[in-house]
Homo-oligomer: 589 residues x 2
């Protein structure tokens, strides 16, 4: 056993470049232990970080960062990188656990080149950096680190394709941990397996076929192997792929054994893996749970129903047992949102009833396919948006409030916004049954609200608003998850003697002009949506009523990349609490 | 010489399946001759279609279409397919030349599965069709035909990756004509060359590395080779790539020799290749020309300036001579819009001044990169949108009027809309000089308008409207290319004694609230933009002025996939002629 290393003394990579190999090993052990300690009480990306401790140390040991440039793909594996680039305290001191974000962030450190949370872009970004270096006549190394399932994203291939033509120093480290968030899917992973099984000697070799020299590191958690390999490619003057075979969750038994659950985890007991905080057993379900239950039943009823994910089955509520139960009717295309949409289009064309689930922030990667291959081609596929909400993930790279502006402006695409789980289920029932329309159904990140009184339809194809309460002068139109707050605001107004009209618009892509016409002589129409105002639903209402005397107030979120915001504070800032909505109505009267 | 074939007798593929090989060869010759005749007087995609005559005949000869399913990528190579699937008259009879679109279209024929005009999606779409077949227990062949440069698009790889896992009949025909629209770029093309040079025997082999069996057809314009190969894979029960080596422009000397200019061409003399109709020598330039001239000068002045295209250099005005002149400062990443944006981001990060040019309809393929890798990361790259307009391409797959709604709702992205070429140049000058902001500059498909009186700024970073004429009661806000019509409408109103305020908003992503505040007591504010109203600029104005007494009228295009529309008729339908705008103002007074 080596002497302990004082982690607080590690201020920058310069401090580790002075270490001996045994010291580096000790450092790895201590970083790993510190990580497990923090993750077990704080939560975060467990597996990706534990698997990359040695690789990150070796990269900074060998390369002259920050002059040499490393772009970490997705960057959810950069906790050890943060630890050795001046941010150790955020991992050792519980009072400072929240000082750093979960991703690289240039505002935190010159060692962080980008704020990255979507996958697969690192190779193309690094290729741009390498091209800039070449044009300037500089000589630094440019390294892209990609893996953990994100190689399947189309832009990764585009980046590899272009990078191969640089003809200069360009180092792509492929972190092969045999996993995506769940198991890997796709033809390329068979090739990675072949390469692992042949110690990198086998053919065909994907990377060589794309124009790269190729090196293989069998023990990707062995510092000596990694350091020697990185030293051998440092300063190289052509594009090379270094394929490293790492163990996701390394050093934490529960994470090694259950790689999927420990990709990302809330606080947990490091011995048993049990969550530290269970929600109340009879608490409300989330929409993932409602969705999965519903879809399993539907798939059993109807062999044409197919559920599709792009590498995030857990978001859809499909754990391993449920995927097994769904069998061939569950498709995971890997992290590849574009093909998820196109495969759905092909399935619809072939007479199936495809239902694709997406995290709001990730569906934007398939905009062109939504527009061209689904909407323009009128394919009756269903898409369910998860975390489409200010109450979704609050990292600036994972925001869930841009999708209304994105999808509701595509022709031929019906964007439904259920206000509660009863309505969500009814919309899903209808959408999967019909074969005429492309439909998107939006759910928030908060718990599923129940509302037994909501009016259920057999057919949601018409833009027909639900006038839940008919009043006068004031109309409150609450879209999707904002309906609850609008409803509470209406109650408050009633207490003050104002009988407001309360409307559930049901969908965000077209307007129920008959209902809107009936509001033209009102004093005020207030719209609220759980997304940015710009380009969204409310502005369509404001535009439609632009010539009418009625005032229109659009409530929603600002067009900003917010980061790690407080949910309640944001709601207040946007005037979206029931009290504020009632106040706005009164002020306009 | 064989007897002539009466092309009018070819009603469906059944008619060619009865033919002998000599008859099929004769058919190919006649189809080619007919195509050259039509294309030379009508224009269209010349090279892609001439190169694929034999392959299309062989596909329909061997496969039992339409039961067997063929998805043609981009589908600009499907003229011969249309000829032999019941639409011959549209190619033989000049009076019917416009009966068919330039792409596959399910409304025209059951042999056309999709309306496709964007590249790279065919493999994933076909994979969905194959999955549907497998779930139903059916047995038909599913074939994707991809090539002509579109293999580099990320979704092609995503589709290949997923298709490899089907474990059933899945046939991908790669049409390798050694070209994109211009020459091919990227590492994968080196592999295709290797495969061609080794008669398909060499390693590494990209397709095998992705999990496909692989076959090579050396003479991709030889019917016998093609038929034998397709027969050998018909009914195959695993995924296979058939790599066919074809000659783009085959049979038309000028098109074989100048593959880039004859990818798509207007009417031409088939002997000399000269255009049949030259524009007037001293006519107005288009924005491609203005852009290329400007960028060449800038790149010479400043070694940090880099011009980037994703496979469409001609759209940017960069013909071969100009690309040569620009040298290393001109980058073509191939058809790969996502990496074009990310390479620009990397270049900006590396201190360069990247400028990317995109066709409006294609930039949507990189939405996630615009949002995450440019805007969120605040990289000062410049993007120029071409054909961003109702006066752009009018095929339903190439519409240029969705980009305002798409890009103007991304935070941190300044969307400039120049009204004339003087303003376009000034905006470009400023944008390339600054290093703080991500900027998009939008140009229409029409000729570049000149306006020497436009007020030019040194800095366009502030949302500051140009009040071109200060009047009262009526405000006309004309964005970008719509400013000209608004200006004419203002003149008409002046003749009627109405002194309207005329505004050039300069940008579409944020509002000049000070100026808008000054309009609150007007009678009417009319906005006009050259894009869909939904999610666009005018709705932001309507929303902002929602509580003010002033009426707001938003003019623009409907949220629809229009197809092959008449430009003037559409302008009229949208109330966007100067007369109509003036009339709208008067009606609102």
């Amino acid at each position: 056993m080596e002497n302990n290393i004082d982690l607080s003394e590690i201020k920058s990579p310069a401090d580790i470049r002075k270490m001996s190999l045994p010291e580096l090993k000790q450092l790895a052990a201590e970083l790993r232990g510190t990580l497990i300690e923090k993750l077990s009480v704080h939560g975060g990306h467990v597996g990706p970080n534990l698997g990359m401790v040695e690789a990150v140390i070796a990269l900074h040991y060998v390369f002259d960062t920050p002059e040499d440039k490393i772009v970490f793909d997705v960057s959810h594996q950069t906790y050890p990188h943060k630890m050795i680039t001046g941010r150790m305290q955020a991992f050792t001191d519980p009072a400072h656990y929240d000082d750093v974000t979960g991703y690289t962030n240039p505002d935190e450190s010159p060692y962080d080149l980008y704020s990255l949370g979507h996958t697969s872009s690192a190779v193309a970004l690094a290729a741009g950096l390498a091209k800039a270096r070449d044009l300037k006549g500089d000589k630094e190394n440019v390294v892209a680190v990609i893996g953990d399932g994100s190689l399947s994203g189309g832009v990764a291939f585009e980046g590899l394709d272009y990078g191969a033509t640089l003809g200069s120093n360009f180092i792509v480290v492929v972190n092969d941990n045999q996993m995506s968030i769940a198991e890997n899917h796709g033809g390329i992973y068979a090739d990675l397996r072949l390469l692992r099984n042949t110690n990198g000697e086998g053919e065909p070799n994907l990377f060589r076929s794309m124009g790269y020299a190729y090196r293989y590191v069998k023990y990707g958690n062995d510092l000596k192997s990694l350091i020697e390999m990185f030293q051998s490619v440092k300063g190289i003057n052509y594009p090379v792929v270094v394929h490293i075979n790492t163990e996701k969750g390394m050093g934490l038994k529960v994470a090694e054994e259950d790689k999927e659950d420990f990709h990302f985890s809330g606080p947990f007991d490091p011995k048993t893996g049990a969550p530290r905080y269970e929600g109340p057993k009879d608490g409300p379900e989330d929409y993932s749970e409602v969705f999965a239950r519903k879809m399993l039943a539907k798939m059993k009823e109807d062999g044409r129903v197919v559920t599709i994910t792009a590498g995030t089955p857990g978001v859809l509520g499909f754990d391993k047992a449920r995927r097994l139960e769904a069998g061939k009717q569950f498709v995971d295309v890997g992290i590849a949102e574009q093909s998820a949409v196109d495969v759905a289009s092909g399935l619809a064309k072939g007479g199936m009833r495809p239902v694709v689930g997406f995290v709001s922030s990730f569906l934007q990667r398939a905009f062109d396919q939504f527009s061209q291959d689904i909407a323009l081609n009128k394919q009756a596929a269903t898409f369910v948006v998860f975390y489409g909400s200010m109450f979704g993930m609050n990292d600036e790279t994972h925001l869930g409030f841009f999708d209304i502006a994105l999808l509701s402006n595509i022709p031929n695409l019906l964007y439904l916004a259920p206000t509660c789980k009863e309505e969500f289920e009814a919309m899903l029932d209808w959408s999967v049954k019909q074969d005429k329309l492309a439909v998107v159904v939006r759910t928030p990140g908060s718990s599923a609200v129940s509302n037994k009184e909501i009016q259920i339809l057999d057919d949601y194809s018409k833009a027909e608003y639900d006038i839940v309460r008919r009043g006068e002068k004031v109309a409150l139109i609450g879209a999707g998850s904002m309906f609850t707050y609008m409803s509470l605001a209406a109650d408050m107004l009633a207490e003050q003697g104002v009988n407001a009209t309360l409307i559930n618009p049901r969908e965000l892509s077209t307007l129920d002009t008959a209902t809107l016409d009936s509001l033209k002589d009102y004093s005020v129409v207030i719209t609220a949506e759980d997304g940015i105002i710009d380009g969204g639903y409310g502005q369509k209402v404001a535009s439609y009523l632009g010539e009418a005397p009625v005032k229109v107030v659009n409530l929603g979120l600002p067009k900003k990349f917010l980061n790690r915001y407080d949910y309640s504070a944001l709601q207040k800032e946007c005037g979206l609490t029931p009290e504020q909505i009632a106040q706005t109505a009164l002020a306009a009267l």
